[in-house]
Amino acid sequence: MSIAIRTAIAAVIALALAPAAQAHRSWLAPSATVLSGAEPWVTVDGAISNTLFYPDHVAMRLDGLKAVGPDGAPVPIQNGSTGKYRSTFDLQLKTPGTYKISNASDGMSASYKLGGETRRWRGSATDFATAIPKEATEVQASSNSRRVETFVTSGAPSTGALKVTGKGLELEPISHPNDLVVSEKARFKLLADGKPAAGVEVEVVLGATRYRAKGQEFKVKTGADGVFEVTWPEPGMYWIEASARGQDPSGMARNFGYAATFEVLPD
């Protein structure tokens, strides 16, 4: 077996394993999730890295970043800046209640044959119609929806900001995301384009692994109703991630990704 072929095989295997073995994780890490006092501020880091929550790979782009307040209305993102390894921004919690911060993106990818050559394309849904040449054959297109979220609360938790959009993979809290303690199991519902995402694996990872021999990582699965349950092994900042595949109404393949950061407090 030539080196070239072996390298090619290794590359194919690496590609196939890539999502699991070498997952670069997208995360938003708030400076605090439970706040008191009048109009408190939080500062949030956003990055993509392997180890949580250490920014050591690439900064999260802030293009798709949005925050909604307790009444479900948008809240301005302030002092946003993107550095080498992380982005950072601030949010003022002017009214008491829960705020949802999310970075969602939607895009399309396609592969097609043109003159015997396989070509790939990536872009927005609006560009798709004109991006693929008329003469192209074997066009395979899919849309990709990713969402990264976190939640912060001033005063008592509320639910106005938790409403889902019905687009992409989303979390519908059953347990409130800012009311998590280590002694209580948490339950959440995963929705894909607004419908229960059944049988989806959800990875749960505890942050601050730098000073531990072994990190806390485990997987749970959603039931037929899209609900999954998490027993937190210890307090800390957790990251959860899920990905799923589906189809849109036209039958086009949909790839979904969802990640969120939760703080779990001691009792």
Partner: protein, 175 residues
């Protein structure tokens, strides 16, 4: 940090004694010791006292000692550090609250009496008095002291003590 086992309830010995004649005449006397600490940077702790039912739900917040005098009510931003109280009761309250909130206390013993009026809404039964202290650049501690309400005649104090942020605590229901 679970509730201590209930000590033998002295009240049991007087179980056949008459109940307080006038409902609403009873008081709850509480003594809380804030220890003197030898640390480089000392700030008086924020302290919350509340009554907890057998299901750990907060029945009533009796006192919250915090710094309510800072500009823009900045002192309220650390109320959440009394984490247990904040989750069970504090986050749903409006502070300052008359008869409940007050300034932080210096090290020493605080003798408190919660009147029948302040105990309004506490149905007869077994409770814990919970004391939680959180100190800036310091630690946090929760101490639970069981008591029966209303008092039976001759009821003696229930006591418990903290280790780091709180000293001796005693609770005496008075008929």
């Amino acid at each position: 940090m679970r509730a201590m086992k209930y000590p033998t309830l002295f009240a049991a010995f007087t179980g056949v004694a008459t109940l307080p004649s006038a409902a609403g005449a009873a008081d709850l006397a509480v003594s809380v010791e804030i220890p003197r600490l030898s640390v480089a940077e000392y700030h008086r702790p924020y302290v919350a006292l509340w009554i907890e039912g057998p299901d750990e739900a907060a029945v009533k917040t009796l006192a919250v000692w915090y710094n309510g005098k800072l500009a823009k009510n900045e002192g309220a931003s650390w109320l959440k550090d009394m984490r247990t109280w904040w989750r069970r009761a504090g986050r749903s309250m409006t502070l300052p609250a008359d008869g409940v909130s007050g300034p932080t206390k210096a090290p020493g013993k605080q003798q408190l009496v919660f009147t029948a009026q302040q105990m309004t809404g506490v149905a007869p039964g077994q409770y814990n008095l919970v004391v939680e202290a959180a100190r800036e650049v310091g630690g946090r501690e929760v101490v639970r002291v069981p008591f029966a309400w209303p008092a039976k005649p001759g009821a003696r104090p229930s006591t418990a003590a903290g280790i780091t942020e709180l000293g001796a605590i005693s609770v005496t229901p008075k008929p």
